[in-house]
């Protein structure tokens, strides 16, 4: 037994009280206390007995993963014109290293980035091509997984021109756009935001030690040189979930 089911003795007005009747209730509790079981738990409540104690697993095998990290920068800026993804190094860098975490199958990391693209210097035209023929630039999230820096998200692209993708220089001088801030025919000085969720979709644990936002500009066509983008303030947030 556990619950006390024979306790009902109700004191009634005018009745002669009985020490035995009153005390029996406490005696029943005393007896039932020696065999407390799940009946003493509200059915919809959760307790340790409902759970699998993962701390009993081998060392390192239990989940230790719950993580919130952020990195922000309010003032510094720098120019970037790499055509392959490279680190964003200014203002302390848009990267965050942490003690190794075990990302078990099905667990995920949420990544959020927000950057101020301050300005752009157009590359040099040449070879019959214009630097703005390829006017796009990209951000992407990277994680260091098992010692290997890996691009985990798609590339998130932006264009400098209202008619991004045009390869006819006659059209690239048109700066018409009703909503965007156009400076020198380029859409610059804007806040850009993007987010991603990385799942461990494998069947094995993954060791994550670092998260980054990296940046690149589009590869210019032959003869032209790459555009240079100036990045300023940013905020980078990493959240673990399980």
């Amino acid at each position: 037994m556990s619950q006390v089911t024979t306790y009902i003795w109700r004191a009634e007005a005018g009745a002669t009280s009985s020490a035995t009747s009153a005390n029996n209730i406490y005696g029943s509790i005393s007896t039932a206390s020696t065999s407390i079981n799940e009946d003493n738990t509200r059915t919809e409540a959760i307790s340790r007995r409902h759970l699998y104690d993962l701390s009993q697993s081998p060392v390192g095998g239990h989940p230790t993963f719950h993580l919130i990290r952020s990195k922000s920068n309010a003032g510094a800026d720098a120019n970037y014109n790499n055509t392959v993804f490279a680190d964003i190094a200014h203002g302390g860098g848009a990267s965050e290293a942490f003690a190794p975490i075990i990302l078990k199958p099905g667990e995920c990391i949420r990544l959020q980035g927000s950057f101020n693209m301050k300005s752009c210097t157009k590359g040099t035209d040449g070879g019959g091509n214009n630097a703005l023929d390829t006017d796009t630039y990209f951000y992407s999230f990277f994680l260091n997984i098992g010692g290997v820096l890996t691009q985990v998200s798609p590339s998130f692209g932006y264009g400098l021109l209202a008619n991004s993708g045009s390869q006819n220089s006659s059209y690239q001088v048109d700066n018409s756009s009703f909503s965007d801030k156009i400076q020198g025919k380029l859409i610059v000085n804007q806040r850009e935001a993007f987010s991603y969720i990385y799942f461990n979709k494998t069947n094995a644990d993954q060791i994550i030690t670092e998260a980054k936002v990296r940046f690149r500009v589009a590869v210019p066509l032959g003869g032209a040189t790459a555009n240079t983008v100036n990045l300023k303030e940013f905020c980078f947030v990493i959240l673990g979930a399980r």
Partner: protein, 248 residues
Amino acid sequence: MSRTYTTRTILDGGQVKEEDFNSEVQGALQEFNGQLDGHQLPLNSITEVQLKQPTTSTNWSSLDGTYSSYMVSQGYHQSEFTQGQTVVKMDYNNQLYAGFSWIKLQALETQLGAAVGGAQITFNALEGMLAGCAVIDFNWFSGEAKVTNDVGTNYFLYGSGQVIEWGVFVDNVLVSKSGYIWPRRMTLNLPYSTPISSKPVTVDIRFRVQFLDPASVATYSEYGSITIEALQSMTYKGGCLWARNEYR
């Protein structure tokens, strides 16, 4: 109920009303018999090491690329798209276009035979809140036209005044939209949040665009002879759609 405490003190030789005794005893008994709450749990009795691992699911992966992770107190669901060989692009002549009305991005991917992903997620929701984000990398291209008259040849972006708008729908209900966006290439981060009941749910991205009829553009003849060199177009370049289902 939470902890019980003595509310009616019984004194030796005093008069006892029945509720003085009964309510005191009932309080203690209810607590003993299991009517407990957080006050009875030892502090830190349950920590993260006791929580069960997520259960993953790819039941709808072939439909829309959904990868689901059902966790103890929440679920995460995601689908993503990286541009492959098939370009996900539509223009005025596409059969899905019928004026400024919502078009499913998933339908465009399917129509073009591209790999599905990033446009829709399907999963079993539990009652609570649904919060997530659509991340959409797209190019809303203005279109290009050439005007030739006796002055010479000039070029203009004939669709520069036309807009695109993106929205997120939960079971066909619009829960978030971007507002109008004029021609450009950008990545849109479109958050959404909505209550949800326990049921299979579909979240999808839709867009609506203002395509100008190329035939009507070519009739702006007072400026000269107009030739459309490139049609207005919307190209989906990639992105992801994710949802967090926080259980009630």
